[in-house]
C-alpha cells in the first residue's frame, strides 16, 4: 500500500510552504524518523521527518517550488510493486460543522485559517512615492527599524529571540548581521526584568525598541510599562521622558488558545502617558513605526501575527511617516460608518463590499491607526455625515476602544445619530482552542454585516 507524504503545517499560521531541498530521491528506502526534506515556512526553514516506512516511489514537487499548500501530497512512499493511486483532493482543513451558540450569528465555514484579503486602498494609491513592488508587513516593519537604526545609533532592539534566531516571527531578520550584538540583543525569558532595563535605558537617553514575542507576555512586565514608562515624565515634573517602543504581535493568531490570544488595545489605550498604535497594512506599518521610533514618549505598537504575511505597496522614502493620532478614511461612503483598526480593517472592507452588493449600502470605513490619542474629529465628522456608526475590533466587549468611541459619539454627536451605536467585539469569554469555537469567538464578516443591517434598520 502506498502512502502520501503531505506538506506539513509547521506553525499555527502556516498555510503554504516552499520546498527548499529534498533529502531523499526516488528509489530510496526511508524509515520513520528519517529526514526527507527541508521546508521553508513564513517563519523559518525546517527539516521534515518521515512518519511511515517504505520506498520512495515518487517526488511530486521539484526542489525550489514555492507556495505549496499545507496538506498537499509532496511525495509517495510504499511498496514498489504496488500501483500508485493518487487521491484527488486534499482540503486544507476539514469543514467543520458548527451549531449556532450564544452569539446570534449566521456561521459560515471557511477552509482557510488565514483568510485575510486586502483590496486596494484609494488613499494609498494616491501616494506618488508608492513602490511598484509589494512587500509583507513583516518586511515593512523590519525595513523601518533598520532605516531608523542607520540614522540614529541610540536606537537599539532587544527581546526574546530577536537576534540569532532572527525573530520569533522573523520581523527582526538580518538586523543582527547589520547592526551587531551591541544593538540587537537577545534577552532571557524575563519580561519584567528586561522591560525595566529598557525603560531605564530610555530614561538615560537611549531609544530602545522592545519586542515582546507576543503582547500576551507584556502582562509580566506591565508594571514597568505603566508605573515606570508612562508616568515618570509626569512624576518628574517634565524632566525625564521615556522614548521607547514596545512592539510585537497582539490579539489572536490561529488556535493558540486563551493565554496566547488576547487583545490589549483597550488596556493600554486607557493609560495617560502612553501612545497606542495598531497598523493594518504594510503601508501604514512603515509610516507609523517610523513615527513611533521618533516619538519622545513611550509607544505601544500593536502588530498582528496574521497580518505579518499581508503584502502591499509601501512608500520607500526613508523619511516617510504617518503622524500619530491621525485616523485614515480607508473608504468614503454615505450610508453608515465603520470605525475599526488592525486586522479588523480587512474584515470590515470585505463586509463593505458585500453590504454594497447585497443591500446597496455605501459604507465609510475609518481605520483608526492610532488608538491613543484618538482621532475623535475624523470619527465625529463621519458620523455627522452618515448618521450611523458601528465599531469593529477584536478586543473583549467590556470597556473596549469601541465603548469609548460610543461614549464620545453620543456625547458630541447625539443629534446626528439615527440609530444606536453598535459594537462588534470578540465574545466575552477566554479564547477557546477548538477551531469551530475560535471562529465563533472572533468577529466575522457576517457579524459586521448584521450590525450594519441593524443600524440601518434592515431586517
Amino acid at each position: 500500500m502506498s502512502t502520501e507524504i503531505l506538506m506539513p503545517a509547521l506553525s499555527p499560521t502556516m498555510t503554504e510552504g516552499n520546498l527548499s531541498k529534498w533529502l531523499i530521491k526516488k528509489g530510496d528506502t526511508v524509515k520513520a524518523g528519517d529526514l526527507i526534506a527541508e521546508i521553508e515556512t513564513d517563519k523559518a526553514t525546517m527539516e521534515v521527518e518521515a512518519v511511515d516506512e517504505g520506498v520512495v516511489l515518487d517526488l511530486l514537487f521539484k526542489e525550489g517550488e514555492v507556495n505549496i499548500p499545507v496538506n498537499k501530497a509532496i511525495a509517495i512512499i510504499g511498496d514498489p510493486n504496488e500501483k500508485i493511486e493518487l487521491k484527488k483532493e486534499h482540503p486544507v482543513e476539514k469543514v467543520i460543522e458548527e451549531k449556532k451558540i450564544e452569539k446570534n450569528i449566521e456561521t459560515k465555514t471557511e477552509n482557510k485559517k488565514d483568510d485575510i484579503i486586502d483590496t486596494p486602498s484609494p488613499k494609498i494609491e494616491e501616494d506618488r512615492n508608492l513602490s511598484s513592488e509589494e512587500i509583507t508587513m513583516r518586511q515593512a516593519l523590519r525595513d523601518t527599524m533598520a532605516e531608523e537604526m542607520r540614522k540614529d545609533n541610540k536606537v537599539f532592539i532587544l527581546g526574546e529571540e530577536v537576534a540569532e534566531y532572527q525573530g520569533a516571527y522573523k520581523v527582526t531578520q538580518g538586523l543582527l548581521q547589520e547592526f551587531g550584538k551591541e544593538r540587537v540583543l537577545d534577552t532571557p525569558i524575563s519580561e519584567h526584568g528586561f522591560t525595566g532595563l529598557a525603560v531605564g535605558a530610555a530614561f538615560k537617553g537611549l531609544r530602545p525598541i522592545l519586542e515582546f514575542m507576543t503582547f500576551n507576555f507584556s502582562m509580566q512586565a506591565i508594571d514597568q510599562i505603566i508605573n515606570s514608562a508612562a508616568k515618570t515624565l509626569y512624576m518628574s515634573g517634565g524632566q525625564i521622558n521615556c522614548p521607547i517602543v514596545f512592539r510585537g504581535p497582539n490579539g489572536a493568531a490561529a488556535q493558540v488558545a486563551a493565554q496566547h490570544s488576547q487583545d490589549f488595545s483597550s488596556w493600554y489605550s486607557q493609560v495617560p502617558g502612553l501612545k497606542v498604535i495598531a497598523p493594518s497594512t504594510p503601508y501604514n506599518a512603515k509610516g507609523l513605526l517610523r513615527s513611533a521610533i521618533s516619538d519622545p514618549n513611550p509607544v505601544i505598537f500593536l502588530e498582528n501575527e496574521i497580518l505579518y504575511g499581508l503584502k502591499g505597496p509601501v512608500n520607500n522614502d526613508i523619511n516617510f511617516s504617518i503622524p500619530i493620532g491621525k485616523a485614515n478614511i480607508e473608504k468614503e461612503g454615505k450610508d453608515l460608518t465603520i470605525v475599526t483598526y488592525s486586522i479588523m480593517l480587512q474584515k470590515s472592507k470585505e463586509a463593505a463590499l458585500r453590504l454594497k452588493e447585497e443591500y446597496n449600502l455605501d459604507t465609510e470605513i475609518i481605520d483608526l491607526q492610532t488608538l491613543r490619542p484618538l482621532d475623535t474629529e475624523t470619527i465625529l465628522n463621519s458620523v455627522k455625515k452618515t448618521n450611523r456608526l458601528i465599531t469593529v475590533e477584536e478586543s473583549w466587549p467590556f470597556g473596549s476602544v469601541g465603548s469609548e468611541i460610543a461614549n464620545i459619539v453620543q456625547r458630541d454627536a447625539f443629534d446626528y445619530l439615527d440609530s444606536p451605536v453598535i459594537k462588534v467585539n470578540s465574545a466575552d469569554v477566554p479564547m477557546p482552542y477548538a477551531l469551530s469555537l475560535e471562529k465563533l469567538y472572533l468577529p466575522q464578516v457576517d457579524d459586521i454585516i448584521n450590525a450594519a443591517k441593524k443600524v440601518s434598520y434592515i431586517k
Binding site: 526584568g193 522591560t195 531605564g200 535605558a201 538615560k204 509626569y234 515634573g237 524632566q239 521622558n241
Partner: protein
C-alpha cells in the same frame, strides 16, 4: 582604600547631620498637615548614602527607592526644593507632581525616587546598560531595600547585569524590616548579599552604622564595577529609627532594640572621630550644627511659602 582628607570628615558630618535635621523637620511638617500622603524617613541610615557618595564620580548615576530624601540631600540637591516637593508646591523638584516618593533630578543624574518595591532595580540596571552602550566609564548605583530582595524582578535584573557585564553597583540597605515584617520572617537565608552568587555576582556585608566601613566597601566595589567586571552587591546593615512611614508606630520591635542601635549612632561616630583626630574643635562642630539647623528651617519656610501648582499644570507633562 581612599585616603580621607580633613575636609572629607567635615563633609561627611555636615551631610549626615543635614539629612537628619531635614527628616526631623519633615516629620514636624507632616504632623502639621503640611506634608501629605506617604513619607518615609531616613533617620538612622545616614551613613549608608553619605558613605557611598564619598567614593563616586559626579557623572555616575543613581536610582533608589521611595525612602529618597536623604539620597537627594547627599547628592547635593537643594533641601529647599526637596522640602517643597514634600509640601507639594511648584518649586519642588517634580513641580509638586511627584511628592516624597517620586523625586528626580536629571541634571544631577538622579533617576528617582521609585514608589514600587523592586521596580528601580531593572531601571538602574538599564541606566548602567546605557553607560556601557555609550562607552562611558561611569557606573549606576542602584539601591534596594531588604523587602525588595524577595521581589522577582530583582533577580531578573541580576541575571541580565551579570550576563551583559553591566556597570551597576547594587546596594542593599538592610534596615531589618520591610514595613512591619522583619527580614527573618520574609527572607529564607539572611545573607541577602549572597543572592547574587548564583549569577556569579560578588558581594559582601558591611556595617552600615559606621561610615568608614561603608566607604571602604564602596571604594573596593566601585573600582571592581568601574573596571568593567560587571555588577557587585554590597549589603549594608543599617537601622531606621522611625517607623516605615509616618503612620507606622513601629510596634513590631522593642524599645531596647531601638536604644541599642542609637548607641552606635552613625553621626556620633563621625563626630567623635573628628574630635579624636582634632580635625575640628567642639566650637566648630557647634557652628556646623547651628548652620545646619538654620538651613533646614529656611528650607521648611521656603517649602511652606512656595505656591501650590496652578490648575493649568494638571494636564502638562503627560507627553513630551
Amino acid at each position: 582604600m581612599k585616603k580621607l582628607q580633613k575636609a572629607d570628615y567635615i563633609k561627611m558630618y555636615s551631610f549626615m547631620l543635614k539629612i537628619r535635621r531635614f527628616e526631623e523637620r519633615a516629620a514636624q511638617l507632616y504632623g502639621m498637615g503640611k506634608i501629605g500622603g506617604f513619607c518615609h524617613l531616613y533617620i538612622g541610615q545616614e551613613a549608608v548614602v553619605v558613605g557611598i557618595l564619598m567614593t563616586i564620580d559626579k557623572n555616575d548615576s543613581v536610582v533608589t527607592t521611595y525612602r529618597d530624601h536623604g539620597h537627594m540631600i547627599a547628592r547635593g540637591l537643594d533641601p529647599k526644593r526637596i522640602m517643597a516637593e514634600l509640601t507639594g508646591r511648584e518649586d519642588g523638584y517634580s513641580a509638586g507632581k511627584g511628592g516624597s516618593m517620586h523625586m528626580f533630578s536629571k541634571e544631577n543624574n538622579f533617576y528617582g525616587g521609585h514608589g514600587i518595591v523592586g521596580a528601580q532595580v531593572p531601571i538602574g540596571t538599564g541606566i548602567a546598560f546605557t553607560h556601557k552602550y555609550n562607552g562611558e566609564k561611569n557606573i549606576c548605583r542602584t539601591y534596594i531595600g531588604d523587602g525588595a530582595m524577595n521581589n522577582g524582578q530583582v533577580f531578573e535584573a541580576f541575571n541580565l547585569a551579570a550576563l551583559w557585564k553591566l556597570p551597576v553597583l547594587y546596594i542593599i540597605e538592610n534596615n531589618k524590616y520591610g514595613m512591619g515584617t522583619s527580614v527573618d520572617r520574609a527572607a529564607a537565608g539572611l545573607d541577602l548579599y549572597k543572592r547574587g552568587e548564583a549569577f556569579g555576582i560578588p558581594g559582601e556585608k558591611v556595617d552600615g552604622m559606621n561610615i568608614f566601613s561603608v566607604i571602604e566597601a564602596a571604594d573596593k566595589a566601585g573600582k571592581y564595577v568601574r573596571e568593567g567586571n560587571g555588577p557587585y552587591i554590597i549589603e549594608v546593615q543599617t537601622y531606621r529609627y522611625r517607623g516605615h512611614s509616618m503612620s507606622d508606630p513601629a510596634k513590631y520591635r522593642t524599645k531596647e532594640e531601638l536604644d541599642n542601635y542609637k548607641q552606635t549612632d552613625p553621626i556620633e561616630i563621625v563626630k567623635s572621630e573628628i574630635l579624636k583626630k582634632k580635625i575640628a574643635t567642639n566650637d566648630e562642630i557647634e557652628k556646623i550644627n547651628k548652620d545646619t539647623l538654620e538651613e533646614i528651617k529656611n528650607a521648611a519656610e521656603f517649602a511652606t511659602n512656595s505656591p501650590f501648582p496652578k490648575g493649568s499644570e494638571l494636564y502638562t507633562d503627560v507627553y513630551l
